[in-house]
Symmetry: C3
């Protein structure tokens, strides 16, 4: 494997999940693998789970880690080709990527969607810039349209928790005061397409995700109906895709509650706004998997890095 | 030992000081102890000594260190219970602490007093939030009301420098242009309560520390009288406790001078404002212990981490 | 060797370059040398190449690395002697340097020129403050007037690429929208004084570098004439030295082009503004050495750290 940019880079999900679970039971088993190798974690946006779990995964594999807040500690990057750089940008993505490639063996990037320009966001200028010009493997730590490390951690969590041949999994939109990207929802949808699950997406009308991602998956606008008899309910806010980046609804009726949850397990990528996205009783209850999802971020990252190191 | 939150968590000061001094003479002797273990240093405020000395202490014990400026690199935290999180705060302390606990074995926190709300400061929402919800040991790298790593370094320094059965130790307030917290003074006072010393606190009227901390210790409002025949004078500014967070005096007569110091050794936690808190002649003179105090920060942190790793 | 502050600290350039090239072919050969040793990288300004390459160099030598953005993460420093510190500065350089010396074995500093006060910039208050008061070796990661790690990487690159007994090397000024420091140009000039090269400096009138640095080196105001038959052309913008820190010209005729480059190799320290300093065709062409210069930053830093560790 060269890069880990999206869920599509997983060649065999069962193998990856199985390997991640083995790593979880013995995190330092492959400490020799990364000896003398360095990973750069480059953040263009804030991070808690991704920052710490990816560091931890790399350390578990014996790697050296260099963390950098690219925006505040480095130089403003230019992404356009052929531009006269006489404005605020000091360095072109071409040089930045090739330079970083001299100092490490793997580079991991976080660069969120702007939510102001759909075309630019979908072009994934930062991630694709690194993939195009860097001479080393690139790992996506959440880009404009995908968060495949999160989706892999979610798949590990589902595998650990599921007891049925074909569980019912619901992805439910929830309200949020700010406009949020689609990356987590997109990658979760793509991950469900790799699984033998009864999958339903529920959200208010106008919140349809990119149809090229959701394809022919079931969309049910009635949240209660969608959640009925669910085994797992993954809750997440996202802004409108068609009316790009807009908050069309803050309808608190869409908040996840114990009542709607029923006997399902509750999932969320975190950070989560309590009593806006989900009520306290769910998060503090026995059916919440959110902390285990966070825990599995380490082993999702670790299986990705291990596969890169081995190839 | 589970946590190191205050001086009260020291079970035997003589043992700890003796162990710290042994570590100082052979810092890498217990490098095996932290192998494969990770410490997260989470900063909600700036730091120089604490940042570098705690890292160094962890490295001396063979640990891996992940440093994070929580405020600027992570998410704004909510601390209130049951709140509807529809304002600026993205993540609740409950999730943040439990998540961090997945990625490391020890977490160390710096979160200063606001000095605007006494009740909130004394509730120690950040430190106590971590202690309550994290599943791993918590180390206080200066909280609203305590700085026990500094106080332990001070105790080590006193032990190294003292030649008397019962030395006279003075804690003297000094002027400062900004309102400063009480944490260092509080922990030093608590530390003196564990020692066989002749202890005097001196400050202008109105600058009394929390009486629940100072208890029946001697307070002398005449600085010159207080300092007479002292063996050690610890100088520190703090803002008013009763008129909470206010600067009531900037009287330069309270600056420490060679004359007032007499034959005593001079102590301060640093950073220090020259010729405001203390005159150049004292800091640049032979009786100043400030650099050795800073040096001992490493071994204070190291004995704390060692005890946590061993338990 | 105690410090590495300028090109003048290189005792034998051929030996250093040869050693750097050996390190490049086997970067981990001296991993034992830095075991248990710590380097602090203190940044008062942004950095990409220097931050990552110096970390990497230290890791290659088995050192532990502590990186700190001094300005945003630490305390504002006072540099004046005898001042009453009742304004914005919290800590004096005297204490800061002595304290840092307690926690690491080598300290590396980046502190750019202000370009507003020539006298202050030339006094190198940050770098010289550390050199004067720190008890440990100091490495210059670009100061007001020098960038000797860059110049050493440039010397390694020249050595690798040169095929002539006495190559012609040109240092050409280029336009830039912002006022930039003289550090890179100064150190490159000093480096050329250590080499058997036919060296020409070219820039518009009014852009003369400090004559105490350029001494009797050839200055040619006609860029095309200067570049004729060059083997290496090093392009760099700097602001005026005589009219200190001013941008006197943004004449785009001074941009480096393929035509002016001829058969020469193109060098630049990066970051570089495309189509302002140099046209795309040069940077994207076969004659550009900029990525290899960046790569050699690691081995420049590594030979410096190795020499310090060995002494």
């Amino acid at each position: 494997m060269k890069h880990y940019l999206s869920v599509k880079d997983i060649d065999s999900l069962p193998d990856w999940v199985s390997e991640a679970r083995k790593l979880k039971s013995n995190p330092r088993a492959f400490e020799y693998l990364g000896k003398g190798k360095t990973i750069c974690l480059l953040f263009f946006n804030n991070s808690l789970r991704t920052r710490l779990s990816t560091q931890k995964a790399a350390l578990n594999l014996g790697m050296e880690v260099m963390v950098m807040n690219f925006g505040s500690e480095g130089w403003q990057l230019e992404f356009e080709d052929g531009v006269v750089m006489n404005q605020g940008k000091s360095e072109h993505i071409k040089e930045a990527t090739k330079v970083v490639s001299q100092f490490c063996d793997i580079v991991a990037i976080r660069a969120f969607a702007s939510l102001t320009n759909k075309e630019k966001d979908e072009a994934e200028v930062v991630l694709n810039g690194f993939t195009k010009f860097a001479s080393i493997p690139v790992v996506n730590m959440e880009s404009s349209v995908a968060h495949p490390l999160q989706a892999l951690a979610d798949a590990i969590t589902l595998d650990e928790q599921n007891t049925k041949a074909k569980p019912k999994v619901v992805l439910s939109w929830a309200p949020h005061p700010k406009a949020l990207p689609h990356a987590v929802a997109n990658s979760f949808v793509e991950m469900m397409q790799l699984q033998d699950v009864d999958f339903v997406i529920t959200h208010p009308e106008g919140y349809e995700l990119n149809p090229q991602i959701t394809k022919d998956m079931v969309i049910e606008y009635n949240q209660k109906k969608a959640c009925k008899n669910a085994d797992f309910i993954y809750v997440k806010n996202w802004s409108s895709y068609s009316d790009y980046g807009k908050v069309l609804s803050q309808d608190s009726d869409w908040m996840m509650t114990s009542e709607k949850l029923g006997n399902a397990k509750f999932m969320h990528c975190l950070p989560v706004r309590r009593n806006v996205v989900v009520e306290d009783a769910v998060l503090d209850g026995e059916q919440s998997l959110v902390i285990e999802q966070a825990n599995n971020r380490t082993f999702a990252a670790q299986v990705v890095l291990k596969k890169i190191l081995e190839s």
